[in-house]
Symmetry: C2
Subunit: 346 residues, 2 copies
């Protein structure tokens, strides 16, 4: 029986992108993609058979000039651990910073708080680097971080949808999307309500920055997985150590694995929540930590999260999710020491 | 009932280290430690009660001058995602580079291949940053990477033990340890043999760079967990995408969680295996990938791995491990496309 040819779309995109900047040896190609040697071999062979790639001795090259938009390697030159915003990314970042200057401020009603513009841009670039937004349908649940706009500005996604409870945000994203022609669709929707049927199993990639109660966290990622369609779909989310101890991390990871998704990346302190821009000084009077220790207003950005990437190694298996009705339980647990309890939560 | 005071030794060390360079606000302390606000609060309160730390308004400081050896924040200033070797680390790194110049070359009999000196140093510094080697007993299973020496040179561990099959390596480490007074203990031992009773449950931290068959990988990490003693113990290991597909990652992660350990960090491409220094050009004739695709000798470093950190959120639970006898099965599976099969493997 002939060897079954498995084509991994993500790896295919990573190969094409790498060759778009000129011919490469096999080893240079390996270095810029995420598959095993076996997967790479199969994908490369298929691309050669389909005449998309040609070979001249040790060099592989694109058969036709590509119309593919591609960006340079964003890995940090100093430590390789993170993402550096440089070159072409820098120009996009300038536009992004200009846009988010007029963003809505965080609402305590939805326990909001956004990451810095720089870290939002880094999230988008990291997702690009992994091959998860190029030609992909991207689903974002809750976007006070406005990463949808950063992804939109990269201009390589097939589709971007934001599901968000806060009309101030969906309005803002719609306006920006229209002005910059980003083609982002928004849906004003509460995560506690059932997932919109029309969006089910329609997306390749999700992004969310969930609340950090265990029930809330699982609800957010569950909803996101409802949006995904198949094998090799990927997801991204932030999780802190500040309001989530390792036991909570454990249960979250158990849940992730139970769906057939694997954790491929956890980058510590990837995203900082800037004090100045969030303008939430007033909140500090209400935090439990400040009531206990009276430690005043921060003189540094300290709230930060790890950035997770997960990928479906097989079909996603979701059990029925128990209905969660309480907004209070969504936002508050024993570790929520820097959350402002809101009178509207029930 | 009075609130139970939980002291986390790792967080305690991170606090003391942060204050060793001068007084700090609460928010500056949070920023340099890994616990929740609740854990930090409890640990800080205990240190104040024990008169180790004092407070003056918003600043916390050490009550007595510390004899604690402490190093600066090694996080990369450009992207925060990885480790930068700078300042005091740079001096240690120079010594380290000098030492490893005369290292034993990789033996294909044990499927060896070492990471670059720079990346070995980065591993040691990252483990230090996380609070896992300061005053800790460190257990290393297999050390052709010679990270034991990098950790030894930092000079903050209570104990370092290397379990290693290759006598050339244990001899080399012993000589260096004696010359530089690093106090590293080595045990020449085959991972297929039962774990030495005397070393069971004696360590706080493990490090290993396992083979990448599923059975082999689990055996290596299982042995390492046998060395660990309790809650909050931590472990580190490398895992590639190159010889391990996501299904294998999935089963590895299932195993990790089944022991009660949580994955806290996965840093992609943290460690590169330098072609020149490993001097393994000859091997390329034997790799399956080269037989299939005839792609010659690499013109770049391409073999690399993600670096994992895991931590026990509770007691470690290990089921009895089935005995694995075959060296062949330890080293070879369907994905080992750049492994040289050895005639001694059975």
């Amino acid at each position: 029986m002939a060897e079954e040819i498995m084509i991994n779309e993500r790896i295919k995109n990573q190969i094409l992108r790498s060759l778009a900047s000129g011919s490469k040896t096999f080893w240079e190609i390996v270095n810029r993609q995420d598959g095993t040697l076996k997967e790479l071999y199969q994908t490369l062979n298929k691309l050669i058979k389909d005449n998309i790639i040609k070979r001249d001795g040790e060099k592989f090259y694109l058969n036709n000039q590509t119309s593919l938009k591609f960006y340079p390697d964003p890995r940090c030159e100093h430590c390789r651990g993170g993402i550096e915003i440089k070159g072409e990314y820098q120009k996009i970042f300038e536009t992004y910073k200009n846009i988010v200057k007029n963003r809505p401020l965080p609402s305590i009603e939805y326990d909001q708080g956004f990451i810095s513009a720089e870290d939002a841009m880094r999230r988008a670039i990291f997702m690009y680097e992994r091959g998860d937004i190029e030609n992909k349908a991207v689903f974002i649940l809750g976007d006070d971080d406005l990463v949808s706009i950063a992804i939109g500005l990269l201009g390589v996604s097939r589709k971007i949808t934001v599901l968000e409870i806060d009309k101030r945000l969906t309005d803002f994203i719609n306006d920006v999307s229209k002005e910059y022609n980003l083609n982002i669709k928004t849906i004003t929707h509460d995560v506690l309500d059932s997932f919109p049927k029309k969006e089910m199993n329609k997306y390749d990639t999700f992004l969310t920055d969930p609340v950090e109660t265990l029930e809330g966290f699982i609800l957010f990622t569950y909803r996101c997985m409802q949006a995904l369609k198949k094998r090799n779909s990927a997801g991204y989310f932030g999780l802190t150590h500040i309001e989530a101890n390792l036991e909570k991390w454990y249960h979250i990871q158990k849940f992730i694995l139970s769906t057939g998704m694997v954790i491929t990346d956890i980058i510590r302190d990837f995203s900082y929540y800037p004090e100045d821009e969030n303008q939430w000084v007033e909140n500090y009077n209400h935090y439990l930590i400040n009531k206990k220790l009276k430690i005043g207003i921060p003189n540094t950005n300290w709230f930060r999260s790890s950035f997770f990437r997960v990928e479906a190694y097989d079909k996603i298996k979701l059990k029925k999710h128990p209905r969660l009705k309480s907004t209070y339980k969504l936002y508050v647990d024993d570790e929520a020491w820097c959350t402002v309890e809101n009178k509207n939560w029930k």
